[in-house]
Amino acid sequence: MKVSLATEMAPPFGLVAHFFITGIVFLLLSAISFIFLVEDFSGYFISLHFAAFAHLYLLGFVMMIIFGAMYQLLPVVLEAPIFSKDFAYVQFYLYLIGLVMMIGGFTFDNYFLFVPYGGVITYLSIIIFCMNVFLTFKRLDTINIVGKYLLVATAFLALSVTLGLIVGLSLGHGLFEISVNAWVQAHMIGALGGFVMMIVMGVSMVLIPMFSLSHGFNDRWIRIALPLHTVGILSAMLSFLFELSWLYKSIALGVTISSIVLYIIQMFLILKYRVRKQNDYWIKNSVFALLALVLSMGLIALSIVTDNTSFSFAGGFLLLFGFILCFIVGHIYKILPFLVWYDKFSPLVGKQKVPLLHQMVHTKIADIQTFSLVIAIGGLTLAIAFNLFGKAFLIGSLLMLVSICLVIYNIGYIFIFKIKDEI
């Protein structure tokens, strides 16, 4: 029998697995969709194909994994159970239905009206998630720095999906007369910079020290970054929404970039103090993710100064794939074995030999996957920055697809791992 608190606090394995498995399927679909993006990168900023890809990758993969991870990590970080596990299941199915409708609407001309309907369903599902998180926080007496990041991130999510809903309704039914480009940009800044980035910044303060066994570091950098990032993102959203001058937008983005620089300093400080020195697949992915973040901030800053759209695309790509994808993949190699182990092997502890978590990952495949992803992302960043939308882009996107297939292979390996295979 598992101890009562453990089962009360932790969500059921099936719940988190729902989000993780579906997220990985969307990752594969988005990698396939990416191969055909060449025309969109060299042409209009927002096309329907680009919108389909963006929703496949960001909502299908990134957000899906974050939702699953939040349900797993929130009770651990806050030392309190999630307000409602039933809400979480309802959220998953609503989110999946809404997302499929939206992507279908973006992909097939005849089904474009699915976008607003799918958008409303997705919106409702995300609001359920936000309410579940807010109600979980309501039970707490004190909130630590990680909790503050997760709370502000969730508020940004509620705000940015509301903007997204208004855009969806305006596109589908012309309900509001808005500047769609400006609202989409504010929506993206809120969702990516406000929600995704702040979640990553917050959970990094738990995951990076935990897996690297780092102690005794000063956490002032991440503390200073919190108000700075909040103000930066909020100002950036407002400056894009109200189409303020270049100066306002630049200042807002500059403040946001400064807070991310503080986060990077904090991460390298933690890694400096790590006592676990092995260079495994987790540390390789994490360090590459952080280096990609450094470069992406540099490219975005350069694009603001030089007004070069290609650099901003390259910086955005590096942020979303170099940083976010590598960060998530590295942590999937750590979190997924734990979840499977917890479900499958923890009841056997003390009765028979059980595997260690790292034995459940195919190390060689993980290393090949990491290496191929680094090469693919490096090549694609150069291709986007210097408008090389020919074979270089195609080879890079195919290599990225191969790398993602290797991630999927390892996920299958973790799920079907049997004790007799390795011990």
């Binding site: 101890v3 453990a6 990590l73 935990m210 020195k277 917890y342 260690l356």
Partner: protein, 98 residues
């Protein structure tokens, strides 16, 4: 039957942290063991606050101690002060990690 510190520590050392692969005694997570006849009180910590294995390691430790001959009941107290650091681990753990 007299319960000894050695027997209790030997029991606890069967508990392995599946993430790092070392037993929790070698990791230096056990701060104190108090034995009062058949009752044992273990004061311990974890390498990270917010560790998902928190409750499981606590449970395994309790079960491992209660398997020691003569022990009827074991209470586990998780403390965060002093915070764990690598200097508390055994030399073999330090060497393996680096």
């Amino acid at each position: 039957m007299i319960v000894t510190q050695e027997a209790v520590y030997a029991g606890i050392s069967t508990v392995i942290d599946p993430e790092v692969g070392f037993d929790i005694v070698s990791l230096g997570l056990i701060y104190n063991v108090i034995i009062e006849e058949a009752n044992v009180h273990v004061k311990m910590t974890l390498s990270t606050r917010g560790c998902p294995l928190h409750e499981l390691i606590k449970q395994w430790t309790k079960e491992a101690v209660e398997k020691v001959k003569g022990v009827q009941n074991c209470e586990i107290e998780i403390v965060w002060e002093p915070a764990w650091n690598i200097t508390m681990a055994s030399e073999s753990v330090k060497k393996a990690l680096s």
